[in-house]
């Protein structure tokens, strides 16, 4: 039961993100995900943080994984 609740939570968060993205594209009053990432990327620390997170994600999901 707990598993279904956690997965439902992840799906709800994903649906919320999709809703914000759709609202951003339709209204233009809030930034899209891409515009938000670009804004973070404009700062020195944000850029290094994003690059580090991205490299970590590759290592985590494709090197330190438990598939196969």
């Amino acid at each position: 039961m707990s598993r279904e609740i956690f997965i439902a939570g992840y799906l709800l968060i994903a649906a919320t993100a999709a809703g914000i993205q759709a609202a951003a594209r339709l209204t233009g009053r809030i930034p899209t995900l891409g515009e938000t990432v670009s804004a973070v990327n404009r700062t020195w620390m944000g850029r290094w943080t994003l690059c580090a997170l991205w490299l970590w994600a590759g290592w985590h999901f494709f090197v330190r994984a438990q598939w196969g």
Binding site: I13, L33, V37, C51, V63, R64, G68
Partner: protein, 130 residues
């Protein structure tokens, strides 16, 4: 039309997709927790960042929004972090899945793993490009 991106760059991206997919298939064939998997992933990361930094910057469409306008996205990130943490501190993992454990299940399929690697490379290009 995106002035800074241009049709040429977009066409080059689509042209490179089959080669990127073939490379991703090979890269994700390597067994996890091995030196070759680590070397290929890290070298790919470094190359992607180097290539992305040389690409022209993406067009912001004339809109420059401050981070303050991104409160909704911050809320999404915080909610995801809280939910992930709630799952992480509980066991057994099968009943309390984290994103990583769910990814392990999904990435059991080599095809999906390949698609994930291609998306990871594309995201890196986007980040490095600004």
């Amino acid at each position: 039309m995106n002035e800074t991106e241009g049709p040429g760059l977009r066409r080059a991206g689509w042209t490179a997709l089959p080669a990127a997919a073939a490379f991703a298939w090979a890269a994700t064939s390597l067994r996890p927790f091995t030196g070759p998997a680590l070397a290929v992933t890290l070298l790919t990361g470094v190359c992607i960042l180097a290539i992305g930094a040389r690409l022209p910057p993406a067009d912001a469409g004339g809109r420059v929004l401050g981070l303050g306008a991104a409160r909704g996205w911050l809320a999404v990130v915080l909610a995801l972090a809280a939910w992930e943490w709630a799952a992480f501190v509980q066991l057994p993992r099968a009943e309390n899945p984290t994103l990583s454990s769910l990814a392990n299940e999904i990435f059991d399929s080599h095809l999906i793993r390949t698609a994930g690697f291609v998306l990871w490379m594309a995201a890196g290009l986007g980040i490095a490009r600004r």
